[in-house]
C-alpha cells in the first residue's frame, strides 16, 4: 500500500491530520494503532482538524475509527473538526455517531475461589437433579406402560419393530466380533498364567464363569450404551431442538408413549438377546484359543465347561441384562429431553448419556453381585 493512512502535523496549538488511502476493514488493524497513537502525540494541542479528502475508500470500520478519534479528542475537552469528507460518506459517519453511546454491559467479575465453590455446588445439585430426572422418566415410562397394557391397541408396534432392527439385529455383527475377541483373550491369559502350575484346564472354568456371570453382559451393556444409548439421546435431542416433541404434545400424543416407551422396551428385550449371543461368541472364542494355543481339544473344552458351569451362572448373567437395558434406555431418553437449543448442548447431553449409562451399568452390576452373593446364587 502506497498511501499513508494518517499523517499529522502540528501547527501552533492545532494538530492537523491528513487521512488517505483505504479506511476499510482490511486496514482496520493498522488504522486503529495510528488513531490511538495520534491522540497521545500532541498533548498540548488544543484542537484537531482531520482532512478526509485523500481517503479513497471508506467503510463502517473507517467511519467508526474516525468517530472514535473525534470522541477521544472531544472527551478530553478539546475540539475536533472533520473536513473534506465526501458527501456520500457523511451518512455513514452520522450512523456511527449514534452507536456505542452507552457503555457495553460489563462481564461480571468473579472470584476464582467463589466460582470454584459454585462449580462444586452446582455439580452436587446437578447430581441430585439427575436422580430426580431419572426417577421422573422411570415413572413416566411406567405410567405409559400401564396405559398401553390397558389399551394394547395404542402401542406403537411398527416403531418397536423398526427400533428392534436397529438396536438388536444390526448390532449382532459388532457384538459377536468384540465378545469373540474378549473370550479369546481371557482364555489365552488364563492358559498362559495357569500353565505355571500345570493347571491350564482351569482356564476353561475361568472363561465359563467370567463370561456367563459378568463379562458377557457388561461388555454388551457398554456396547449398547455407546451404540444405541447415544443415538437415542441424539435423536430425541434434535427432535426437541426442532420442536417436534412439542408438536407431538400439542396433537394430543404423549411423547413418552410414542417415542420413549417403544425404545426402552426394545432395549429391555434386546439386552438379554444380545447378551446370550455375546456370551456364546465369547465361549466359542475362548474354546478356539484353548484349542490352538493351549492344546485343549474341543471335546475336553466342552466337557470341562459342563462340569465348571451350572445353569445358575447363566441365569445370573441373563437376569441382569434387562435391568441394564432399562437403565441405559432411561438415561438416554432423559438426557435427550434435556437438550436445549444449541448444537453444543446436543453434544454435551449425548456425552453425558453415554458416560452416565456406563457408570450406572457398572454400579448396577456391583449391586447385583452383592445381591446374588447374599441369596447364594
Amino acid at each position: 500500500m502506497g498511501e499513508a493512512l494518517l499523517t499529522h502535523k502540528l501547527v501552533g496549538e492545532r494538530l492537523e491530520l491528513a487521512a488517505g488511502g483505504s479506511w476499510t476493514a482490511s486496514h482496520a488493524g493498522e488504522l486503529e494503532a495510528l488513531v490511538d497513537r495520534v491522540t497521545g502525540e500532541a498533548p498540548k494541542a488544543e484542537d484537531v482538524s482531520i482532512d478526509m479528502a485523500g481517503v479513497r475508500e471508506f467503510d463502517t470500520f473507517g467511519a467508526w475509527l474516525l468517530e472514535r478519534l473525534t470522541r477521544q479528542w472531544t472527551g478530553s475537552g478539546r475540539k475536533a473538526k472533520i473536513v473534506g469528507l465526501p458527501e456520500h460518506d457523511r451518512g455513514l459517519l452520522k450512523e456511527m455517531h449514534g452507536v456505542n453511546r452507552e457503555p457495553p454491559p460489563k462481564p461480571q467479575a468473579r472470584n476464582a475461589f467463589v466460582s470454584f465453590l459454585a462449580a462444586v455446588g452446582r455439580g452436587g445439585a446437578d447430581f441430585g437433579h439427575n436422580l430426580v430426572v431419572f426417577s421422573e422418566m422411570l415413572g413416566a415410562v411406567s405410567m405409559a406402560l400401564a396405559r398401553v397394557i390397558v389399551r394394547p391397541r395404542d402401542y406403537r408396534l411398527t416403531s418397536t419393530v423398526h427400533q428392534f432392527d436397529r438396536v438388536a439385529w444390526q448390532a449382532v455383527p459388532i457384538i459377536v466380533l468384540i465378545t469373540f475377541l474378549i473370550g479369546g483373550i481371557i482364555s489365552q491369559q488364563g492358559i498362559f498364567h495357569f500353565r505355571k502350575f500345570g493347571a491350564e484346564l482351569y482356564s476353561v472354568d475361568l472363561v465359563g464363569i467370567l463370561v456367563l456371570r459378568e463379562i458377557g453382559v457388561l461388555i454388551v451393556a457398554i456396547m449398547v450404551a455407546g451404540r444405541s444409548g447415544s443415538s437415542y439421546t441424539a435423536e430425541l435431542g434434535s427432535m426437541k431442538m426442532r420442536e417436534e416433541i412439542d408438536a407431538l404434545r400439542t396433537m394430543g400424543f404423549d411423547p413418552v408413549e410414542v417415542l420413549i416407551l417403544p425404545r426402552i422396551l426394545v432395549l429391555i428385550v434386546a439386552m438379554p438377546v444380545l447378551t446370550f449371543i455375546g456370551s456364546m461368541a465369547a465361549l466359542y472364542g475362548g474354546g478356539l484359543v484353548a484349542w490352538f494355543y493351549g492344546g485343549i481339544s474341543p471335546d475336553i473344552y466342552i466337557s470341562r465347561l459342563t462340569e465348571a458351569i451350572s445353569l445358575t451362572h447363566f441365569e445370573v448373567g441373563m437376569i441382569k441384562a434387562p435391568f441394564m437395558g432399562l437403565v441405559i434406555g432411561i438415561v438416554a431418553c432423559a438426557e435427550g429431553l434435556r437438550v436445549k437449543g444449541s448444537a453444543e448442548s446436543l453434544g454435551i447431553q449425548t456425552t453425558n448419556s453415554v458416560v452416565e449409562s456406563i457408570f450406572l451399568v457398572i454400579v448396577l452390576d456391583g449391586l447385583f453381585a452383592i445381591f446374588f452373593a447374599s441369596i447364594g446364587m
Partner: protein
C-alpha cells in the same frame, strides 16, 4: 440501460439435481448499488439460484461472474478473497448456536482481520445497533432470540466485514407485517448508507414494493420478467400477472397507482 456496471453476471446457467432441471439457461444481471428482488413460485428455483451464485451448489453449464471473478475458474485464495466481499443472510438465520450474538457477529472479523479485541467489540456492538438491537442483546445466545431478532443478528453478521454485495434469502419470511416492514426499511437504509448491492430472494409483495429497485421473476427455470415494479404491473406473462394483480398483489397495485399521480 447499462449506466451502472453489473456486479453479478449470470449467463446461460443450468442447474439441476439428478434428472430434474431447476434452472434452465438462465441469464441475469445485478447492477451496482441496487436492490434486486427475485420472486417466483415456491420451487421455482429462487434459493437454488442464490445458492449457486454463492457457490454452494454445483452448476451443469454456464458462467457466473461476481465482482468480475468467476468462482468456477478461481483458485482457493481468489475464492476466499471473493467470499470476504459478500455477506449472506440465510433463511433460518444460520447463527452459530454455541456462540453468543456478539461472537456471531465477530466471527468473520476474527477470522479475516487482524484487529484488537477492543475494536472488534466496538464494531460488533456498532453493527448490532445499526440493525436495531441493543448492546444487552449481544450476550444472548441464538436460542434465546425471537424470529425477528434472529434475522437482525444474521443481517449484522452478514454485514460484519462491510461487504459489497449482500445476499438475502427470504429476509422477511416468518416475521409479522410490522416487523417485516421495519426490516425492509432497515435494508433500504443500510443499502443507502453503506452503498451495497443487495440480492434478495423474497415472497413478500410488500418488500418488493418498499425495498426493491428492480425485480426479476423466475418461472420455468428462466427469468421471465425483469424491471421495476411498474414494468411488472404491465407484464403480460401469466404468472407475473397473477402474482402482481391477484388478490393480494392487486391491493398493493392499486395503492401504487393511486400514489403515482402525486408522485410524478
Amino acid at each position: 440501460m447499462t449506466e451502472k456496471n453489473a456486479v453479478i453476471k449470470v449467463r446461460d446457467l443450468v442447474v439441476g439435481f439428478d434428472d430434474v432441471t431447476v434452472l434452465d439457461h438462465l441469464d441475469l444481471d445485478v447492477r451496482e448499488a441496487e436492490i434486486l428482488g427475485v420472486v417466483g413460485a415456491s420451487g421455482a428455483g429462487k434459493s437454488v439460484l442464490l445458492r449457486t451464485i454463492i457457490g454452494l451448489l454445483p452448476r451443469r453449464h454456464g458462467t457466473i461472474e461476481v465482482l468480475g471473478v468467476d468462482l468456477a475458474k478461481s483458485n482457493e485464495a481468489e475464492r476466499r478473497a471473493l467470499e470476504r466481499r459478500w455477506g449472506v443472510l440465510f433463511q433460518q438465520g444460520a447463527l452459530f448456536s454455541s456462540l453468543t450474538v456478539k461472537q456471531n457477529v465477530q466471527f468473520p472479523m476474527r477470522e479475516n482481520l487482524k484487529i484488537s479485541q477492543r475494536l472488534m467489540d466496538e464494531m460488533a456492538l456498532a453493527k448490532l445497533e445499526m440493525v436495531g438491537l441493543t448492546p444487552q442483546d449481544g450476550d444472548k445466545f441464538p436460542s434465546e432470540l425471537s424470529g425477528g431478532m434472529t434475522k437482525r443478528v444474521a443481517l449484522a453478521r452478514a454485514l460484519a466485514l462491510d461487504p459489497e454485495i449482500v445476499f438475502l434469502d427470504e429476509p422477511t419470511s416468518g416475521l409479522d407485517p410490522i416487523s417485516a416492514g421495519d426490516f425492509d426499511e432497515l435494508i433500504r437504509t443500510l443499502q443507502q448508507t453503506l452503498e451495497i448491492t443487495v440480492f434478495m430472494v423474497t415472497h413478500d409483495l410488500e418488500s418488493l414494493y418498499n425495498a426493491c429497485d428492480r425485480i426479476a421473476v423466475l418461472a420455468d427455470g428462466k427469468v421471465v420478467a425483469e424491471g421495476t415494479i411498474d414494468a411488472m404491473l404491465e407484464s403480460e406473462h401469466p404468472w407475473v400477472k397473477t402474482y402482481f394483480q391477484g388478490k393480494r398483489g392487486g391491493m398493493l397495485a392499486e395503492r401504487q397507482m393511486s400514489t403515482q399521480p402525486q408522485g410524478t
